[in-house]
């Protein structure tokens, strides 16, 4: 097989910048990949006229780890560990999307208790992800103390995750067919403790920022996106809702029992950086409502499907049942087969629509696993939003779109 190469020369990059750059009228400036306000290893090539951004060309791929390729070489259950590493601020959400895709592909049931616990964790994870966003976004705009307040609270959520999964970040807690294990005894108390205390903290963050004149100056009317632009560019999540479209997959295409919970989808109409900030601040409160309801009616029972063809038997059965030993051996050496077909499962991650396209080939490994990651798609809009703004505003815009580079580069 011969693979033709596409040679890249300066001439072929010329169309990305304006003709004034070639005459030296505007300046080309490299921002990143090691720049704290690009939220990871994002590199931007900026064309500047004074301090105004003429064009902005994102260069991604510095964190590309070939996860999609790696998943093709592991069994369905074992590849789940890779999914934690995609969007490292939304590990439970990635696990959820992947598990839902596998369950849909092989038609596997999930007990109600497992679904409710999944919802609790998905929402706690949304809060913790928004906390990191809020802290770093405020830090970019020179409000340093918010960062410490946010990370302090995030730590409590990570502690709850560690309590249940043994890991603070790389959890792999959800498994196809349910959860790894049931939650430990102190779980409900710890979550209750957190959700009782947290509304006070959200108010505190809002007193620090919502009416802060410096913050308002930096965020109002910056990076305005219209709904039409957002939809045409495939933008989802808080950025789209901040432009005025109540598009939330938890309401539109409910999964994992979200239809049982009563919550609102916060929508703003301005579409600027401040609107995106406002939407996420409201989402804190809505997530707390969901966690509260899920905790109130947490069903009793098993947390893993009883279908032994896909879910390994409990340890206690291995000493007494020959079938259990056979299933255990088959599942851990070979894995379970999935049909020759494909599914696409979208979930609402803190950043937008996180979709998993999973195709099986009849064997125990995914034939193809594609991740539709919200950061990758949402980052595409940054050049458009930043045009004509100052370099300092570009930092606010990147922060407001809320990208995670692990999610962009996969």
């Amino acid at each position: 097989m011969t693979i033709q190469q596409l040679e890249i020369t300066t001439d072929e990059l010329r169309h990305l910048v304006s003709s004034r750059a070639m005459e030296g009228e505007t300046m080309l400036l490299n921002m990143g990949p090691q720049h704290p306000s690009t939220h990871g290893v994002l590199r931007l090539l900026l064309e500047l006229d004074g301090e105004t951004v003429v064009s902005c060309i994102p260069d991604v791929g510095y964190l590309h780890t070939g996860i999609e390729k790696n998943i093709e070489f592991k069994t369905y259950e074992k590849s789940e560990t890779m999914t934690d590493r995609l969007d490292y601020l939304n590990t439970m959400g990635n696990n959820l999307a992947y598990c839902l895709a596998v369950e849909k592909l092989v038609d596997l049931d999930v007990p109600e208790r497992a679904q409710a616990i999944r919802v609790i964790f998905a929402e706690l994870q949304r809060i913790s992800s928004h906390l990191v966003w809020l802290g770093t976004h405020a830090l970019d705009l020179a409000a340093m103390s918010v960062f410490f307040y946010c990370f302090n609270q995030r730590e409590r959520i990570l502690d709850i995750m560690e309590m249940c999964s043994g890991q603070r970040m790389m959890t792999t807690y959800f498994r196809p067919g349910g959860l790894w294990r049931d939650v430990p005894d102190g779980f409900e108390a710890a979550v209750r403790d957190f959700i009782d205390d947290f509304p006070r903290r959200v108010d505190e963050y809002e007193t620090l920022l919502s009416k802060n004149p410096i913050f308002l100056d930096r965020t109002k009317d910056i990076g305005v996106m219209s709904v039409e632009t957002g939809v045409a560019w495939g933008i989802t999540g808080p950025p789209l809702r901040a432009s005025g479209l109540a598009y939330d997959l938890r309401k539109d295409e409910p999964y994992s029992g979200y239809e049982q919970y009563d919550f609102d989808v916060p929508v703003a109409t301005e579409g600027d950086v401040y609107a995106r900030y406002w939407v996420r601040m409201q989402e804190f409160r809505q997530s707390l409502r969901i966690v509260h309801q899920a905790l109130e009616k947490l069903p009793k029972g098993s947390v893993r499907s009883n279908n032994r063809k896909f879910v390994p038997p409990p340890r206690s059965e291995l000493g007494t049942s020959m079938e259990a030993v056979i299933h255990h051996f088959k599942l851990w050496t070979e894995g379970f087969p999935a049909p020759r077909a494909s599914v696409y499962v979208p979930v609402e991650s803190p950043r937008g629509e996180l979709g998993v396209f999973l195709e099986g080939d009849g064997g125990p490994r995914p034939y193809r696993c594609y991740w539709r990651t919200p950061s990758f798609i949402n980052l595409q809009i940054v050049p458009l939003l930043s045009k004509g703004h100052l370099v300092a505003d570009l930092v606010a815009i990147i922060g407001s779109v809320d990208i995670v580079l692990g999610d962009v580069d996969r």
Partner: protein
Amino acid sequence: MNSALQTIIQNLESSFGSTGSEFRGQASLLLPPGQIVEATRALRDAHGFNMLAALSAVDYWPQHQPRFHVVYQFKNITQKLRLEVRVPLDGDEPELESICAVFPNANWHERELWDMFGLRIKNHPDLRRILMPEDWVGHPLRKDYPLGYEEVQFSFNFEEIEQRKPRPKD
């Protein structure tokens, strides 16, 4: 399957010669290559599929006809419908028309198709590699591209492996 979606699929089947199918409630449409731009424009303007949710490909190597399926996921936000469109492509170096003019966010998706699968996208405004370095050889998500790992050298096969070890370019 939703009745509105069924009508849309029948409509597209008659106008574009595509074939619809369903798996676990998800509708999929196999569309002959060459008509993708007209079909996406019809989907967007006549049937309300206003968002390109995802775009990727699957490599069926060693099968050659078709070798690739390019998979588009469209979303109709107002009617809450989803539709998958698959475009089969033959041969090792297939070409495909860009849909950037219809959905601007296809830009990076199509760059990724070139980067990861080596699909040449015609009429693309900026076809460069996106995730891999610019001088990378090969397209990693193709099935004939090895995963790559370092082989363990023992005394009996030390020389043999030493010879085929990858070396940095001169």
